[in-house]
């Protein structure tokens, strides 16, 4: 297992190097620059000063290597170019916990809702339960999250007045965005669980469990579930990462100061270091979640071990 972790860790470094260098060249070659305001041009002397400060007077590859050097030697991601009094580390330290809090709540909702509906649909194949939960699932996949979100706001914030429509300071304000973010993922998990269960349920060990006279819910939860959720588990890696970093769209609708908001702002404003910081954090999360998924696979499926991974 240690060899597995070391190997994956090395691959992660390679991947991150490729991703960050590609992103750097892309954003640097883009037209536009971070210092020009839309209202007034920056004084040339100030501009030279700023460019030196942010090391933009060097060549583009040199700039990238300086950026890398700062990360490896001091763990610094540079300073934001729009809000010049803030470092990228500070921005991420502020916004990542917001995204992670919202994300973990959504993930929890998505997993519970998805597994529950998927198991019911699979256990009662071709019944009303099955058809209704699968139609709901396709609806959840088809509806863009901003449609879901605005529907939720309309019903629960404006009509019923149960929850506030936007913001991020009270616990009550977390509920609606978490649901809006969770529903599409719940739909995917539900479909995957149903198919997983249907594949497992015909197998011998399930028949054995049934033959022992176990109750249906015991057979499904204790025996079938373990095999049925393998496809769900492999979906969870990328899903967890993208939920955790927060949907850009949901954050925008509910005015949530999460990481995704800063990425979009950074990309539009050509805030080079902010963009690089968010890309780095997101890619790292994605990679770590995928490693966790692989480890979960080993734990769940006795046929898989770390050598074959």
């Amino acid at each position: 297992m240690i060899a597995f972790l070391v190997r994956r860790f090395l691959w992660m470094i390679v991947t991150l190097l490729v991703i960050t260098s590609v992103s750097w060249f892309m954003i640097r070659w883009a037209p536009g620059d971070p210092f020009n305001d839309e209202l007034r041009a920056v004084d040339p002397a100030v501009r030279t000063q700023l460019e030196r400060e942010y090391r933009l007077d060097k060549t583009i590859p040199q700039q990238y290597f300086y950026w890398l050097k700062d990360i490896f030697t001091e763990g610094k991601l540079g300073r934001s170019m729009k809000s010049r009094d803030k470092t990228v580390n500070e921005i991420i330290a502020q916004s990542l916990p917001v995204s992670l809090a919202l994300g973990s709540l959504s993930l929890l909702i998505a997993v519970y809702l998805g597994l529950a509906t998927g198991l019911i649909a699979g256990a009662r194949q071709n019944t009303v339960w099955d058809y209704s939960s699968m139609s709901m699932a396709i609806l959840g996949i088809s509806l863009p999250s901003f449609v879901l979100a605005s529907g939720l706001i309309w019903v629960f914030a404006f009509e019923l007045d149960w929850f506030p429509a936007a913001g991020w300071s009270k616990l009550k304000q977390v509920i609606l965005p978490a649901i809006a973010l969770a529903l599409p993922y719940a739909a995917y998990i539900s479909r995957l669980t149903r198919v997983g269960l249907l594949e497992v349920i015909g197998q011998d060990y399930i028949r054995t469990a049934e033959a022992k006279g176990l109750a249906e819910h015991v057979v499904i939860i204790k025996h079938a579930l373990r095999g049925a959720i393998l496809p769900v588990v492999s979906f969870m890696g990328p899903a967890a990462a993208s939920i955790a970093v927060g949907s850009l769209v949901v954050e925008k609708i509910f005015f949530i100061p999460g990481l995704g908001q800063f990425f979009v702002k950074g990309a539009i404003n050509r805030d080079y270091y902010l963009v690089m910081g968010t890309v780095l954090v997101y890619s790292m999360l994605l990679y770590v979640f995928n490693i966790l998924v692989d480890m979960a696979y080993v734990a769940l499926d006795p046929r898989v071990n770390f050598e074959t991974e």
């Binding site: 992103s23 088809s142 963009v275």
Partner: protein
Amino acid sequence: MTKVAEKPRPGAIAQDDLVVGSSLFKDAMRRFLRNRLAVVCLVITVLSGVICMIPHLPGMPTSITEAHIITNHGQNNLGPSSEHWFGTDELGRDLFARVVYGGGISFQVAFLGTMVSLIIGVTYGAFAGYLGGRIDNLMMRFVDILYGLPFMFVVILIMTVVKKETNSMIPIFMALGLVQWLTMARIARGQVLSLREQEFVTAARTIGASTPRIIFLHIIPNLLGPIIVYTTLTIPGTMLQESFLSFLGLGIREPHCSWGSLASQGIQAVSPIASYWWQVLFPCGALALTLFSLNFVGDGLRDALDPKGRQ
């Protein structure tokens, strides 16, 4: 994939097999047509596609094409009526015209984006699978690395790289296609790995066919089944991504519109005091209905083409 036959029905086997030979696609067609819901969804998709594409066809009277940008002073934010079926927006533009026109844009972006991902993905995957060995390993490692790229981030990066002044669909569907070919490449490669060991490939190689010829003329046609299925599921995916982009203000720009940008405008106009519900309902409804149908058609095709019914 080539030898798959439907599960024999008792009693009917001999007749079916002997009298009318059935091809894979005939079988698939029959299975698809039996799936009522999928057929209905196919009809809905085709209908809405055709209607939405009318204003975009060459040779159409300009009144149809331009109806969506004509602002009517004093008629802003009107509810649905016999004159404006879907009401009007804040500038007094007829929402029905805008929904139809925007739908055409959504369809085009979704279709072209999927085509870009299809061409790149299938070619890449087929070459990797056919060449095999170290090249295959290298090529697929590259795909693995790209999988680590945050999908939406890349699209946004590409969209911001493109100059703000250019108002065309090309960067949007290119960006969407460029990030969606990865799964297509994996599917194609997996299929090719088993295909290339089969006799007809060996035969082609024996008579001296070149590698590109074998890939494009012998292998890719045999990939059609899984590719068609994945393509029909990618089109709604691309449409959804485009609507996200437009919603974030990075996609289609004024005066043009897509379902995503219309929905975005409608949702931004919602407030507890005044909700112009038609500005939200009609674009969102059109988008949701189309995505729903496309997904069902994709599912139906998958069930029809792959009787084992994965996923």
